[in-house]
């Protein structure tokens, strides 16, 4: 079982994810070589163009982006321990999570979760389970940067 949790400065791009994963020294695709993996699910969280504005009765207001703040090192540890718990509970082959810190613009990716398991049902359940728990327990905040 491979578990990786990485916090990256700024928006997540294929390049920044690959760099961060390489630095971890772990390769989740290696779990496919023995034929036990039947499904990989990748979830991307993307910054939308607007958010409800608290001073305008919750009406949507245009954003430039979101500013993500992490409480370190608790956020990193929280992502890791949550990933490990979800992997064990759902019998995953691998789970990799990347999360942004700092400014992420509209249309850019701030969160990626990639999960592999024997069957799709485990990957779907684990994805929902991870995201729900992360939003509840991992000390990461987002603040709107209004246009």
């Amino acid at each position: 079982m491979i578990v990786v949790a990485i916090i990256v400065e700024g928006a997540l791009t294929p390049e920044s994810q690959a760099r961060a994963l390489a630095a971890s020294g772990l390769d989740p695709r290696s779990t496919r070589s023995d034929g036990a993996v039947g499904a990989t699910l990748r979830f991307e969280g993307i910054v939308r163009r607007d958010e409800p504005h608290p001073e305008q009765r919750g009406e949507p207001r245009a954003l430039l982006g979101l500013e993500y703040q992490t409480y370190d090192p608790m956020a990193q540890r929280g992502l890791e321990s949550l990933a490990r718990a979800v992997a064990e509970r759902h019998g995953l082959a691998s789970i990799v999570v990347w999360h942004s810190r700092g400014r992420v613009g509209v249309g850019e990716v701030s969160f990626v979760l990639e999960i592999s398991a024997a069957h799709r049902a485990e990957t779907l359940a684990a994805t929902a389970s991870f995201i729900d728990a992360m939003k509840r327990d991992v000390p990461i905040w987002k603040s709107p940067v209004w246009a």
């Binding site: 409480y71 608790m74 995201i131 327990d137 000390p139 987002k142």
Partner: protein, 81 residues
């Protein structure tokens, strides 16, 4: 004793600071600190519904003792993802 509680995200933006000093009577618990934040920082009231406290970088139960010098952080209004 007076303890500083670290605050983040929307709560920090609303309070215009990243730490809130709180006076509590010793011996104090997490519950006491949360109650004191509500009483001494009314501007943070909106952030206290369901709020928890991290003590020395770990989520703590309401009965956890708080000692002088502990690192305290208000865990509320999380927005990961």
């Amino acid at each position: 004793m007076t303890v500083d509680v670290l605050i983040f995200g929307p709560a920090a933006a609303a309070a215009n600071t990243d730490r809130a000093p709180v006076s509590v009577r010793e011996p104090a618990t997490v519950r006491d600190v949360l109650t004191a934040i509500a009483a001494q920082h009314p501007g943070l009231a909106f952030a206290l519904d369901g709020a928890r406290l991290a003590v020395n970088q770990s989520l703590a139960s309401p009965d956890t003792p708080v000692q002088p010098g502990d690192e305290l952080a208000l865990i509320s209004l999380l927005g990961g993802g």
